[in-house]
Amino acid sequence: MTVETNSKTKQLALVIDLNVCVGCQACVTSCKQWNTSGTAGPLADHNPYDADPVGTFFNRVQTFEVGEYPDTEVVHFPKSCLHCENPPCVPVCPTGASYKRAEDGIVLVDYDKCIGCNYCSWACPWGVRELDEYKKVMTKCTLCVDRIDDETLEERDRKPACVLACPTNARIFGDIHDPESDAAKAIENRGGYQLMPEWETNPSNHYLPRDNKRFAEQNQAAEEQL
């Protein structure tokens, strides 16, 4: 159940800086705006102005309170597809609609092949795949592949919409296999880590821990307790 990737090839990913994310949701709205307006058709919203609105999002920012009062920190936590190097969602797909693009490691869904069986979303521990209620196919973060591939855009704009929208530069985009990229440097120099490493899927997206002293001390203390 593994998809082999060559570490020499390109692996595009996001590195999220938890120090500066303020939870403004600009990445969420820009993601929705870009991906609902493209050639793949809208991202459904069900009852958008009603009592129980439900919609498809590729990216959500969640909020957690860490620690015990008065020693608490609020952590805003953006989460989208982590583009695993061994994506568990890909081999389970019965049609081959879910795939990992060889040239840059982006995990994508071919909407024309997807039968909407939900099996890939069962196989993703992070819950970052969402079935679109209207298109009835599985959708997920594409790292705005239609921006990255669009050569009519200026080089600086060939990045995911969320990265361009983030006002605090909390989202660093790049090839994590290229040691010279900003993304790889951030992981290397600032202790970038992966989510749920216990499943050994080798997520490409990384998170940069808070480097505030009190936070680090709390973590340290917790680690010693274990």
Binding site: F57, R60, T63, P94, G96, K135, W199, N219
Partner: protein, 327 residues
């Protein structure tokens, strides 16, 4: 997980069909060995019922799909996907059962072949092939769940054992019911044998289901909010899941039922799926009655549907860590 009814009916119906097919072949073997001629209607009607159950399961499965018209595509990735393998194994089994039933229906074509000093009818030989494809189908269906290591409740050989045992138990109950029906009545002893095997399988299925209940009760989740966020502080509370309304993720991965409700389903499936059928079957070991067997069958099927519901509800997906509150 939020139990999907389409898949609950798919797995329980085809499981029962597979069990019934096993019962037919066991009967046929017994007939061959003991040299007693059976009512051929038993095998014909049995084969037709197997087909009905398989088709019923297949129809139910289509309700699970967003794009049922593209279902044929699902056979593509059999090298990696157990779901794809199931999509191939099911029609193969169906085709074999179909030809088997045709042969039973037209004894003229059901010639006898002898080799190794023994004589076999063509349908019996095909039956052996059918048993092989039946077993492959059980493996594929159960591996769809057992291969997902994130769903720790499913990631166990017990999942496969339970799918096989429960399918076979309900299939034999159905076979004994059929054998007790006046229209297709078979030799009384065969009928009792079938009820006895159904009893044994139901008992075995109960033991293994209890084992898996015990295993899952002891499970400790591999993923925690700490590993999910990469923050080691033992006290972490979610204050927002990023939307003020429910989302796809909440709907798909949590059943939203109370602990009491879940516990009642557990007792319902233990009673109806196993306890009551065992009690009823034990009264049938001397003399089988169609009406009483039918009661056992209905009770057991309802119980096994409840069991499959619980099987899904019991699986706790790690993504739920990110969706503890709506705000």
């Amino acid at each position: 997980m939020n139990p999907p009814y389409s898949v609950i009916f798919l797995t329980t119906l085809i499981g029962m069909g597979q069990g019934l097919f096993l019962a037919l072949i066991v009967e046929q073997l017994q007939e061959q060995i003991q040299g007693i001629s059976q009512n051929p209607l038993f095998f014909i009607v049995g084969g037709v019922i197997v087909l009905f159950l398989l088709v019923g399961g297949l129809i139910a499965s289509f309700f699970h799909l967003g794009h049922p018209e593209r279902a044929w595509r699902a056979a593509a990735k059999w090298r990696t996907s157990w779901l794809s393998r199931e999509v191939i194994a099911l029609p193969i089994f169906m085709a074999i059962v179909f030809i088997y039933t045709l042969l039973e229906l037209m004894p003229h074509y059901n010639i006898t072949v002898s080799f190794g000093g023994l004589a076999y009818t063509l349908s019996l030989l095909l039956g052996f092939l059918g048993l092989l494809s039946m077993l492959l189908l059980f493996i594929c269906t159960s591996m769809i769940y057992a291969c997902l290591r994130f769903l720790q409740q499913w990631h166990s050989p017990l999942t496969m054992i339970n799918f096989i045992l429960m399918g076979c138990a309900s299939g034999f109950t159905l076979a004994a019911t059929l054998a007790a029906a006046k229209a297709v009545a078979t030799n009384r002893q065969f009928c009792i044998n079938l009820a006895a095997i159904a009893f044994g399988l139901t008992f075995l299925a109960l033991i293994f289901r209890l084992l898996s209940l015990r295993r899952n009760k002891k499970l400790r989740p591999k993923s925690t909010v700490q590993s999910a966020l990469g923050i080691k502080n033992p006290k972490i509370t979610q204050t927002s899941s990023g939307a003020m309304a429910p989302s796809y993720n909440r709907h798909l991965f949590s059943h939203g039922k109370t602990v009491l409700f879940i516990r009642s389903i557990k007792w319902i499936f233990l009673t109806m799926g196993f306890g009551l059928p065992l009690l009823i079957l034990i009264t049938q070991l001397n003399n089988t009655s169609f009406i009483i067997m039918l009661l056992a069958l209905v009770v057991q099927y309802v119980g096994l549907v409840a069991e499959r519901w619980y099987f899904f509800a019991d699986a706790n997906h790690p993504q739920n860590i990110y969706y503890q509150v709506i705000a």
